[in-house]
Structures are given as C-alpha cells and as structure tokens.
C-alpha cells in the first residue's frame, strides 16, 4: 500500500502497524496512486493507495483518473472528516466522494463500521471483474474509531472468463475467412488478457498482419514477421498503411481512440469488435459485428472456428514488404545524441522480461514508436489520460510487483520533474529503478506542435536550468550524465544493473522531433514525415 498519512487516517495507520500490511510512505499522493497503478499492471492484481481527507485526497485524483482511463485495478482509500462534521466545510474536508465518482468504476462512502468489510470485499471484486478499473473508498474518521461487526467472509465465487456466443464466433470466422486483406488490431484489453498467443495463432491461420494500439504494445512480440507495430498518430508508417488498406479488421480490446484511428469516419473497413465492456460497442466506430467477451476466450474460439490455413497472400507479402521498408536505421552515431540512438541501445541491452515504463510526451512516443517490446504487459504507459508524471512512480510500483525483474523509466525532463520527489521514495526504500532521462530541457511535444501547427511560434516550452544529476543525487539516487553517444551503452547498463535507483541524464538533441506524425481524417491521412524516408502510401 502506497500513501501519506494525515489526521483523518491516523487511526488506520495506527492499526496498520500491527497488520502485517506493508506501507510505503511516498512524497506526494499522486505518486502513491501511480505506484499502486504500476503495481497493479504488473501484478495483474489490485494495487492500493491511501491519502488523508481534503488535499491529500484531491492529490490522488490525477492518478486515479489515469488508472480509470487505462482500466487498471487500483483501490484508493481516502480519509474523511468525521460524519458529525461532514458537509460543514470542516478542516481538510473535500467532497472527494463526488470528485472520484466519474473517474472510478464505483466508489463507497462508508458511514457504518459494520459495512466496512463488505464494502472492501465488494471494492476488490468490482476492481478486478470484467473490465478492470479503480474503486475508491472514502472513510470518515469516526468510522475508523467506532466498533463494528465484521461479517464472515463469504466463499469467493469463481470468476469465469466471459465467453463469446457461438453464433457470433461463426459470423466472425466467416467474415475473416472471406476477407481479402484481414488485419488484427490489439488494444489494452488484449494485452491485459494475455491473448498474444491466440492472436498470433489467428494471424498465422489467416496470414493476417497484426497492429497494436499504444496500450496493446507488447501483446505480441514486435520482432515477429506478421507484427507491423503500433498504429496511430505516432505509430509506424507500415502499421498505419495496413489500417488504411485492410478490408476486414478484427479489433480486440481497443476503443478506437482519436489518437489511434483519428476521425471515426476514416474507418471504412468492416470491423469485428471484441470487447469485455458492452458499452465500447459502437462508442466511437460502429462495428459490423460486436462481440462482448474476454479477449483471450474470444480469439481462441474464433481461431478454432476457422478451418483454413492461408500460407501467404498478396496482402501478407505486402505486409512483409511494408515492415522491411519501415525498418529504418536508428543507430544514429552523432552528437548531440539522437533520442533514436538511445532507443537503439535499449533495444540491445534490455532483457526480454524487462519492464519498460514511460513518462508522457516525446519520450513516450520515441519509446512507443521505436522500442521493440517482446513480451506481454512489459510496456507500461499512460495511454488514455496521457498523464505527465506517471512514469517514475509507476516504475517504483512495478518494481515492488516484480522485484526480480529490471525496471526502467523512459523519461522526459518535463514529465520527470512533475514527480521527481519520488526518487526519494525509491532511494529510501532501496528500489533500484533505472531512469533513462531524454533531457532536451523542453516540453518537447509542445515545442513540436508549436513548430508544426503554430507557425514555429515557440512559447512556454523552455525548461532549461535544472541540473538533473545534482537533483537525483540530492534525493539519494545515483546519477550519470551522458553527452556523447559512445557513452550511452555503459551508462544505461550501469543504471540497469545498479542496486540503487539510478538516473541517466542523457543530453539529447534539442531539435529532434518524433516523426512520422499521422493525422487521419475522413478525407484521408495527412503525414508529417520529418526525416522518415518511408513512402508507403499512408
């Protein structure tokens, strides 16, 4: 459990001392929420965070909204003023019950100690059943100090995966077998479900290429010949080309976000949409066939219903060609250091099961575009909310969930400094996370958009003047500054192998932007290529 105590939660903290529950004291409640989120995404089980009433609770909001938009099972506990004071604008009172309502799957305000146990059990069940998501429990201080009965624990009901209906499976199989240019698109739901093997089996049967959303990245190994990589605004040109030219698309656990497919009207292919959440059907793009089911179960059923083995087709050969043409050389040996070179080195040195967490902005998109992820749920990022400040605390949470695996935060200086105080949490608790800081002393994505879309009128993007090495050392972390590309590999290796949190302050080329940048509209895609030489027609 990650959190910060306050007057309203002190009775609970006093009990925690004897409970055997490990509590990690953080430096800001937003960090606690992201840590619980990072923990949950790796452990595939609820992560918990706790804050006191008022400002402590409102500080959790950003982190809980992040977990909500990425369907992560976080349990957030907030203290509250006593029930006798509630509603009187008491000291440190905020209506956090209302504030949390639209960004949680459900929330409870416990007013009777006798319902506490039941509410907690319900919270864990709700957070982890169906489409996962955060659940919030608001507990007034007097509820923590009054006596109450604890009802006996009911026998847990086994949760079986939501199976697709046989009729829908048959229709989906038929549509896919009749497709000339089938495409499989995997989103966060497929990744969470661990449906990589089923997706590859289906792709292999149909000779269908696979693309992923940002949240789906890593569901299937990105080095596989049928995997074209990430689609979307900062996706790979080959993947976007396939999206533009497929005739039937099987979409699994994705919500057609605007950053992924652009304008919904641009999706003119037939769509088979599998999602565990019924309300996703037709929310953004109206599918030809919607199947409400768990991703792994649904793809497995469709795969069994397909009595066909396509060894190759013009479409699959074109896909292979697309990958080759899109595989540009990112081993850029020049100074100032290219961010692509950093990714190139990380592709070489990171072990297969390493957990890669990202901040938000250009650093995130360099990682999403160029990094080859080889295993499911090893790429952790704030996809829905695009929450700056997510990376470092989520990496700390992830390391708690998997102490034996390497964890690296791919950071930009803007996002990192929003939560850099959590370096102290990592140092004090001996959490050896590595931080690859893509330092361009800028809000890089802001700079890029001002250049591209606002006539190069740069404003409010200069963050220079911070000595990141001194900052990291002040918090008790190791730090290495890298200014030359030859020094990258040893520094990154040292950070990954260190038994302390270690920041690599990489002075990257301040002028480099992330390309290609694709904007899909109903009228067709517009591509800002930058230096990308690919001319795949997207």
């Amino acid at each position: 459990m990650f959190g910060i105590p306050g007057a309203a939660t002190l009775p609970l903290y006093d009990e925690l001392l004897d409970s055997g529950i490990e509590h990690i004291l953080v430096r800001h409640e937003q960090g606690a929420a992201h840590m619980a989120d990072g923990y949950a995404r790796i452990k595939k089980a609820p992560g918990m965070c706790i804050a006191t009433s008022g400002a402590g609770a409102t500080n959790l909001v950003t982190g809980i909204a992040t977990a909500y938009l990425d369907s992560s099972p976080v349990i957030a506990i907030t203290g509250q003023v006593p029930t006798t004071v509630l509603g009187s604008d008491g000291f440190q009172e905020a209506d956090i019950f209302s504030l949390m309502m639209p960004i949680t799957k459900h929330n409870f305000r416990v007013t009777d100690p006798s319902t506490l146990a039941t509410d907690f059990r319900s919270a864990f069940r709700i957070a982890t059943s169906g489409r996962c998501g955060p659940v919030h429990i608001d507990i007034p201080k007097d509820v923590l100090t009054r006596e109450g009965d604890i009802p006996p624990r009911p026998t847990p009901m086994p949760i079986s995966p939501m199976e697709p209906s046989p009729d829908e499976v048959l229709v989906a199989a038929k549509m896919l077998m009749q497709a000339e240019r089938p495409l499989i698109m995997l989103g966060g739901g497929a990744n969470w479900s661990g449906a990589g093997a089923e997706a590859l089996a289906l792709a292999d049967q149909l000779a269908a290429p696979i693309v992923t959303t940002l949240m789906g990245k890593g569901t299937v190994p990105e080095t596989h010949p049928l995997v074209l990589g990430m689609i979307g605004m900062h996706g790979r040109a080959a993947a976007n080309y396939a999206l533009e030219n497929c005739d039937v698309m099987l979409v699994v656990g994705a919500r057609f976000s605007d950053r992924t497919v652009g304008e919904p009207a641009s999706c003119r292919m037939k769509v088979i949409h599998i999602d565990i959440d019924r309300t996703e059907m037709g929310k953004n793009v109206c599918p030809t066939l919607g199947i409400t089911a768990e991703a792994k179960a649904a793809m497995s059923a469709i795969s069994k219903a397909i009595n066909l083995k396509v060894h190759s087709s013009n479409w699959s050969e074109a896909s292979g060609e697309m990958i080759k043409r899109c595989a540009c050389d990112i081993d850029v040996c020049e100074d100032p250091i290219s961010p692509r070179k950093v990714i190139h080195e990380l592709n070489s040195i990171l072990p297969k099961d390493a957990i890669i967490v990202t901040e938000v902005g250009q650093c995130q998109m360099w990682a999403a575009h160029f990094l080859d992820i080889k295993d499911q749920r090893t790429f952790i990022t704030s996809g829905g909310l695009g929450c700056m400040g997510f990376g470092l605390p989520a990496a700390i949470g992830a390391k708690f969930a998997a102490p034996d695996r390497k964890v690296i935060d791919i950071a930009g200086d803007g996002s990192f400094t929003m939560v850099c105080q959590e370096l102290a949490t990592a140092a004090k608790n001996d959490i050896p996370v590595a931080i690859a800081l893509f330092n361009n002393s800028r809000l890089g994505m802001i700079k890029q958009h001002q250049r591209l879309f606002y006539g190069d009128r740069l404003t409010a993007q200069d963050l220079s003047g911070v000595d990141m090495v001194k900052l990291a050392e002040a918090f008790g972390a190791e730090a290495i500054r890298v200014e030359h590309h030859q020094d990258l590999t040893p520094a990154l290796q040292q950070a990954i192998d260190s038994d302390r949190p270690c920041l690599v302050d990489i002075q990257i080329n301040r002028e480099e932007d992330i390309f290609p940048l694709t904007i899909r509209t109903a009228a067709g895609p517009t591509v800002h290529r930058g230096s990308c030489p690919y001319e795949g027609g997207c």
């Binding site: 019950f97 209302s98 309502m101 305000r109 709700i126 019924r278 309300t279």
Partner: protein, 120 residues
C-alpha cells in the same frame, strides 16, 4: 420521447452517479420521477429522453453502474402520463395515456414551455 425505468439503491449519491452518466454522454433528461418503490431499500427512477438512440446509450451505460440493479426502456405504448403546460388560456393540467397526453400537448401548441411531463 423514450421512457427509461430503473431500480436503484435507495441511498445518498445514487442520483448523482446516475446523472453523471447522462452528463458524460451529453444527454438531457426531459422529465424525471424518483421515489421509494415496492422493493424495500430500493427506489425507482423513471425518466425520459428525447430519442431512442439516447435511450439505448443511457441504458447501456446505466447497466454498468453498481447502484443500478435493473434498467430498461419502457416499451408499452399505453402508460399514464401527466403534464402541466402553459397556454394562452393559462395553466392546464393533463392526465391520460402517454399518447393521449402527447397528442393534447401537440394540439394545444404551448406558447411558453412544458412545465412537466412524466411517464409513470
């Protein structure tokens, strides 16, 4: 006009949670009646929205809420309804089937606004 009926927990905060779904999907609630009902500890919410499309979206989303135990679009054509409307002749109260009330409102050509229309 489509009428949605739901059985919900009779507790504080439940209406806010329900209305939050309408806010999120930008659906205006035309009329609403809430009250305790035949099931102990539960309340019934009966509300109307302007179109079938909105009603379908609302029902899907309301079905996900843990405080909402049952939700449906009321299909029966004959439901009693009442309306209080402002006309050139002053306030007029109407009671009848939903269709009858709708027809009378149409003929009356209300000059200002419909004060309430509730399908029960």
């Amino acid at each position: 006009m489509e009428v949605i009926s739901m059985l919900v927990k009779d507790e504080f905060g439940v209406m806010q949670r329900i209305m939050g779904e309408f806010t999120r999907k930008r659906i205006n609630v035309e009329t609403i009646v809430v009250g305790k009902c035949e099931v102990p500890g539960k309340a019934r919410v009966v509300l109307s929205v302007i179109s079938k499309e909105m009603a379908d979206i609302a029902v899907e989303r309301l079905g996900r809420l843990h405080d909402v135990e049952a939700v449906e679009i009321v299909e029966e054509p004959r439901q009693s309804a009442y309306a209080l409307i402002s006309t050139s002749k002053g306030w007029v109260g109407l009671i009848g089937s939903r269709d009858e009330v709708a027809e009378i409102i149409e003929k009356t050509e209300p000059e200002h606004y419909i004060k309430t229309v509730n399908a029960l």
